[in-house]
Amino acid sequence: MLQLDGITRSFGDRRVLDDVGFSVERGKLTGFVGGNGAGKTTTMRIILGVLTRDSGTITFDGEPLGDHQRRAFGYMPEERGLYPKMHVLDQITYLARLHGFDRRAAAERARDLLEKLGLGERLDSPVDDLSLGNQQRAQIAAALVHDPEVLILDEPFSGLDPMAVDVVLGVLQEYASRGVPVLFSSHQLDVVERLCDDVVVIAGGQIRASGEKEALRRQYSAPRYEITSGGDMGWLRTEPGVQVVEFDGGYALFDADEATAQRVLRAALDAAPVAQFAPVRPRLAEIFRDIVTDEQRHDDEPAATTPKETVR
């Protein structure tokens, strides 16, 4: 398990991460959501050690994370990076060799992985010649070729066509099922909600929510129920402890605590046959819609104090 605690980081006098803490558990896909400028990329770079933190701790399986363990991480940066003129296979092989695989093993792994990702036909093409979607696949291969023990991916799904999303998702789930902690970022809540087990929400450099997806939905939404009855539900409006949200003859959507809701159900059953009664959980996308918004970019601040670097 990868655990972050109290991470802060400032660029100049602007604090871009403030007491950031969350965990990425083994066997799960953890989605890292926030608008542009919320601090996702900065956090990921700090995990990878390509950026230093001002304070805070990162542990991996209970031990402080060091450079040696980081070498076994797989990383996909937000702005895609591969040598434009180098052949895809050579490139992935080179990265595998940097991780310690010998020449032959590296080439074999690279070839297998690229074929699995659907790039078998383009092994000898320079990266420049690939379509954007295929470049993305090559980029994912670069993050996976050394069989990483932790996967950190910055916006892995942006720019992918639906088929490629499925391929990539399949690969990520395979890693997660092997017990690899997988953290990926996205600015699209609905994507994260669909694909992830755990969700971390960041806004303005602060963690707003983190945990298991369903738990978050329970935690951050008012207990809400809907009921469809054969009779008129008009009496619900006067029921103590009930806040009616929507009403249409036999249908009602209302907020109430659990005991009240059960009381409402019993009363409804006494009055008329009930066709449907269920708790309603709003989607995360609705709950956090207001939180996950793009930050104002600070590009126009005086350059002397604010490096433009890594403010996403």
Binding site: P77, G81, H99, S177, R178, V180, P307, E309
Partner: protein, 377 residues
């Protein structure tokens, strides 16, 4: 929660800095060797060097060494017969000889002259100007004794200086530029983030320097080898004896000097994030590369300047071989200069590595030197 423990085959050991350096160097070399423009330009350059040597040897024969053809009539055949550098072409009479001159088959004709004021008894006929070569060969000059004979003529001195300077300028700026371009390209394409999450920045920088140094020195050595071969096949071995040792020293000095320059190029380039911005940060480094070239052209007859040049790290690679060629350096001087050069190369690469590590991940605005060198980053 249930934590599935990963049961996967053992990972290979993470390569150490030295091994990572070699891998990076290997990639730099291979990717360069696979570039068509690099291969073509190298072949063209080697061909130019070889062609130049062969051509000068041929032209030299034609201009100086080869015999000049001179038309003679039977009466004057004896005048030319024993003269070095002149080849007699027999003509039936004076008119035939004049025709040979007019048709430019011979450089001049030697014809009898009975005029009373001509004690020699013959006249040299040229086409549109006095045929100097023939006149020189036919004239008699007194023997000359020089009290202070120069070891090398000014022309050769100039030529050799320019050659060392030009080869240095060309190789250092093209390979240095290559390092700078690769550095910025890695930064611009962000692959540097992936690389640095795998290998330490020092290994990345060292691999770059190593790879390009191998290429640059390899190219220099190839030029030197081709030049030696050219001199041997054209029979100019005597010149080889003069330039052989300076050329060997040049390769050694270039090796160490280029490491220093490579560190400068890489760390300067790491300050910017886009290819378009490299010009401004590379300017000072390019100047350092050009100075020895121009200095050696303008001051190759100034021993003081050459001596200073031969000890200043940036110009030692040109200055010392030139002095060795001129024979103005004692045997220990190249060793001392080399030690100074090696020491400063160590220092500069250490500072360069610091700048590089600090700035290679910072994108966007240009990183200032003071930021790159300051304690906190």
């Amino acid at each position: 929660m249930s934590t599935p423990t990963p049961t996967r085959p053992a990972r290979p050991a993470v390569p150490g800095t030295a091994q990572a350096t070699l891998l990076v160097a290997e990639r730099e070399i291979l990717s360069q060797l696979r570039t068509k423009s690099f291969v073509v330009s190298t072949v063209v350059m080697l061909a130019l060097v070889l062609g130049g040597i062969v051509l000068t040897s041929l032209l030299g024969d034609r201009l100086g060494g080869g015999d000049t053809k001179v038309a003679v009539v039977p009466e004057t055949a004896a005048v030319v017969a024993d003269v070095d550098g002149l080849e007699a072409v027999d003509a039936a009479d004076a008119d035939a000889a004049r025709e040979l001159v007019e048709s430019e088959e011979v450089s001049a004709a030697v014809l009898p002259d009975d005029a009373a004021d001509n004690p020699l008894g013959f006249v040299v006929v040229g086409l549109d100007s006095a045929p100097e070569g023939v006149l020189g060969a036919l004239s008699v000059s007194p023997p000359v004794e020089l009290l202070d004979e120069a070891d090398t003529s000014a022309g050769v001195r100039y030529l050799v200086s320019i050659l060392f300077g030009a080869v240095f300028l060309f190789a250092a700026s093209s390979f240095g530029g290559q390092i700078a371009q690769n550095t910025v390209q890695e930064k611009q394409s962000r692959i540097v983030e992936i690389l640095l999450s795998t290998v330490p920045p020092r290994a990345l920088l060292a691999g770059k320097i190593l790879g390009n140094t191998v290429l640059a020195v390899g190219q220099i050595a190839a030029i030197a080898a081709v030049a030696v071969i050219g001199l041997v096949i054209t029979g100019q071995d005597d010149l080889l004896g003069l330039v052989g040792a300076p050329v060997a020293w040049f390769v050694v000095f270039f090796l160490v000097g280029f490491i220093l320059l490579a560190a400068l190029f890489a760390s300067a380039a790491s300050l910017v994030s886009r290819i378009e911005d490299t010009g401004s940060v590379l300017m000072p480094v390019i100047m350092l590369v050009m100075i020895p070239y121009f200095a050696v052209i303008f001051f190759n007859d100034n021993d003081l300047v050459l001596t200073i040049m031969s000890y200043v790290p940036f110009s030692a690679a040109v200055g010392m071989p030139v002095r060795l060629f001129l024979g103005t350096a004692a045997w220990w001087e190249p060793l001392l200069s080399l030690a100074i050069l090696a020491g400063s190369a160590l220092l500069v690469t250490a500072i360069g590595a610091r700048i590089y590590s600090r700035s290679v991940l910072r994108t966007g605005r240009r990183v200032t030197l003071s930021e790159a060198l300051s304690k906190s980053s």
